[in-house]
Symmetry: C3
Subunit: 423 residues, 3 copies
């Protein structure tokens, strides 16, 4: 709840802007939740419960869904201080008819029953989308996703390339690639051909972006420096230098195809995978603050035609991002990602971008959601912070009228994404 009257008014206006959500992990074949288990199975809740002391045994998939939910709710009072708890409370109120101030384990059965009731309604997906005021949602599709059987105007495909860059050495990945493209990669030419086929397939199905998440120490360099050979001849090599060159080379090839096919490239920079080895599913990754966008210097210089929509994991690196986007025409600030997606860092990072980066080059937010129900509370968190910044720094100081402030918000929440991703 916003206390400040002006911020509340702006927030309420901003909520009328139909959203284009440019990054999610929604499965378009099962976009909405089917029960509370889908909601509380989100890694934020499993990892916070586990971090607060819950054994992972309670998450066993052989258990009844209701019992998994009960276990998490039982631990929730240990993290009812967090932003993530706030999202859940908002979902319970907005979608499950919850009227209380606080969710506890005692609410388990009532909430679970309510979730089964509403989520089994035939038009539940429509209901959630309408209440959330979402118009388009970007997906994150594996390269061998057929992209069939859903409305690609609503659910916009996006080619996720992590497997290609970081796991092409696995024979399983090579086989998936062969199956998807008809090309068994064996040399640089066949690799290039396979990638071209992926881009053709994806763009023919309406894909509007290529995306990848990158570890903190990743530094792409030009294919000419790598040498074409290394792309594939080293596929079986596990020498660190070979791996590094191969990854850099494949990444570069993807950037070339983004240029050719006119796709923006989403770079999600900074994640170390499997840091907590015994963590819950999707709750094992962390970061190393010691990373710099200087590692992307050659990339940004070489591909001026490719919009790079950059997400970072730390507030320290956000200052770099704001500065790089202020200088490089092709660097776009993108959302508030993962460990940076809590109010204190959003406020700080958003303010820096708003003060330093052309307003046409900022993608304000994305939900990163796995289920549609999370779009509402996550965007609301962002919209409240944005409304307060607009109230304090723009409207009250006379920089913008209220109308201009709303137009600015429209760029951040909708129009920039539409223009940059060409949707």
């Amino acid at each position: 709840m916003l206390i400040d009257r002006l911020a509340r008014d702006l927030y309420s206006e901003i909520c009328h802007i139909p959203l284009v959500d440019p990054h999610s992990h929604i499965n378009p074949h099962a976009a909405a939740s089917r029960s509370l288990d889908d909601i509380l199975g989100y890694h934020y809740y499993t990892e916070l419960s586990h971090s607060a002391g819950m054994s992972q045994d309670h998450l066993d998939e052989d258990l009844p869904a209701r019992e998994r939910v009960r276990a998490i709710l039982k631990y929730m009072d240990r993290f009812d201080n967090t932003a993530q708890y706030g999202w859940f409370l908002e979902i319970a109120r907005a979608f499950l008819g919850f009227m209380g101030d606080h969710v506890t384990a005692d609410d388990c059965d009532a909430l679970f029953d309510a979730s089964e009731r509403v989520m089994s309604e035939a038009d539940w997906e429509e209901t959630v989308l309408r209440r959330s005021n979402v118009e388009q949602i970007f997906l994150t599709n594996e390269f061998d996703d057929p992209l069939d059987g859903f409305d690609t105007a609503r659910f916009v495909p996006c080619l996720r390339t992590d497997d290609l860059v970081f796991r092409l050495g696995d024979s399983a990945v090579l086989e998936r690639l062969a199956k998807a493209t008809g090309v068994m990669v064996g040399d640089a030419d066949s690799l290039r051909l396979a990638i071209r086929k992926l881009f053709e397939h994806f763009t023919s199905k309406g894909a509007k972006a290529c995306a990848i998440s990158l570890p903190p120490n990743f530094a792409p360099y030009a294919l000419s420096d790598v040498g074409q050979g290394v792309l594939v001849e080293s596929l079986s090599s596990t020498a660190e230098d070979d791996i590094e060159a191969r990854q850099a080379g494949i990444f570069w090839l993807l950037a070339e195809h983004c240029r050719e096919f006119g796709l923006p490239f989403d770079l999600m920079i900074g994640v170390n995978r499997r840091v907590y080895e015994d963590g819950v599913y999707q709750g094992q990754d962390l970061f190393d603050q010691r990373t710099s966008l200087i590692q992307y210097r050659e990339l940004f210089n070489t591909f001026p035609e490719v919009p790079f929509c950059v997400s970072v994991l730390s507030s320290g690196q956000n200052q770099e991002l704001a500065s790089y986007s202020w200088i490089f025409p092709n660097v776009i600030t993108s959302g508030h990602w993962w460990y940076s997606n809590i109010p204190t860092y959003i406020a700080q990072d958003c303010r820096a971008r708003i003060q330093a980066v052309p307003k046409t080059k900022q993608i304000g937010y994305y939900s990163d959601a796995y289920k549609l129900e999370f779009i509402l509370p996550k965007y609301n968190m962002y919209r409240k912070i944005l409304a307060q910044i607009l109230a304090d720094d723009f409207v009250r100081t006379g920089v913008y009228s209220e109308t201009q402030a709303i137009e600015f918000a429209r760029l951040l929440l909708r129009d920039n994404a539409r223009r940059i991703f060409n949707v």
Copy 2:
């Protein structure tokens, strides 16, 4: 002074929570100050005076205590803008009857006389503890501290291990270790035996934690990687690799003993010693922001049973800490340390933790004090910031009632420390 009414009310309630102060450098045999010289001899005042231009000659221990005090007070108007000046002003008011708005050199004699008068009272220690509402204070004991002659229920022993890890190559340290344990370390087995004896001694005397401060580049790794031999055979080696392996190995051995003896391990990460070589006593250490908790990945994974209470020196690394504590069940956020212990960084760092980390895994604050009188102003600084955050982000927004907010504060100031350290 808090301006905001709600924050003031919360602050005043929070002040009623009896403190468990989980990290200090108090000498239990002389816990309270004996004169103003003990107060202004705190390195914060000597280093700020020196930084502002005072020659160290004025700190000579052969000078009369009153003249050392006079010298610092003379320079105090050059740093009356700092948080540390604020602590002193609060001590002067709370304990020395000072009524003014501003302390200057003119107040020297009156304050010094007052300090001698009150601090010589037989129950001064009791008086300070009572007014500060402190119940338990953790110490930081060298490994050869006899731990005799004081109430270990009030002053909780804690095994400081810096000398073992970083200075075991010094023959003086080896001799102290032999004297303390009866074991002259000469090989890996004798080292293990000596450490076991230390843990037995400390836990038998009521020790509740093991602690160490670590340089920014320190990265522990598994004993199995180090090889047992290196632990001791390299004791006399000054080759960098040997030193690094030895330090990593001894550290690992300590973690194994923490596990076995059920002691949490306080990691105070990031300090470079003797950076300013001609600095005042204890005023020579600084940091390098380029450090990451990723260096502790293997440690956190290997010892899930050991609570690691982690302190960091920079706000950049605090974002890592909040994230690691959100993911790793055994990583606890701990206090606001040294160069991060000023209001603007406390506010930012505290807010991030409160929004991202289960509330049961946060040790809100510790005094780090050398003399009891500093507990009050340091905790008050923290409590005011906490009260303002609770007012703005929790009570006003309807997340918590005032009562719930106070209960949250009780976890941060008392109950989490009691549970985690088992006191």
Copy 3:
């Protein structure tokens, strides 16, 4: 516009303090702008327009000045959210009689005409200085600047040494040095002699500082470690080690001369040059957050007599700076530089310094301006932030009276610079 009444009152008082601006790029022979082209030719506007999509063709120097201005104004509505737009709006209002709320391309001719009219007035420089309440402005002079033909009491010379340290390998630089000093550098002795002559020349002309900007990875080390030989014998070497040693050695020599000639040394730490290779003039440089003041440890220890006025580029490194300045008597915090010179980072960084560093060791701000007209809006941005901090953290909390708060501001804006630079 400040909303808060107390902050507004403080601001208005602070504006009466005559400024000493301790770092600028003003050309004393053409200090004020001659038309709007000089204003909008400032790299902040060319780089933001370009970043927002403007081709650099529009900046061609063969175009009429009015058309360059028109092009930038045409793109300005894409960055009217930025702090830099705010500076321009304030210049238009304060100096060009602009009465609107918003500058757009439609205002081009009226503003351009107004600029030509007022800026051609004979006393325009005086007018700007008077309205900006500036008393002294430091320059940044190349080593071969004759320093003739201007009032060095108003425009204080400062020896910029980037070319000496980083480009002495260029024969053109060696020739300029020979021409300026009469010394053709060929060995360590002649280099030392040439540098001495520069310092003699500059100090005889009233220079009050030596300055340099440094890349993030620069680490000076003692001349004795370098070996005198490397200074010059390696001049033609392009081996990385030789270059590094040569740069470190020359830098050290400069520090020795600062000591001998009693000049403070301005260190502007963290800039990587030509990161965006096709960027506009002066709009190509960026930074790498991974840098630390620990790299300057030996320097700060070796030259206690030299005040090092340190500027940094990131808020992360500002925490280091505040801490190093709190500990080292010879480290001064200096201004809010470039990518850190936007309100959200200024506020955070300024607050940290104010809470941790003796008030006599802080140089609050400098304009970094190329034209006099920018001093007013840049200082106003800083003064507003400072006034709000003083209102919230000092006056309202009873730490300072309003009068004391203004005196503190006087140190930051004037008196510290006068004392430290001896003007």
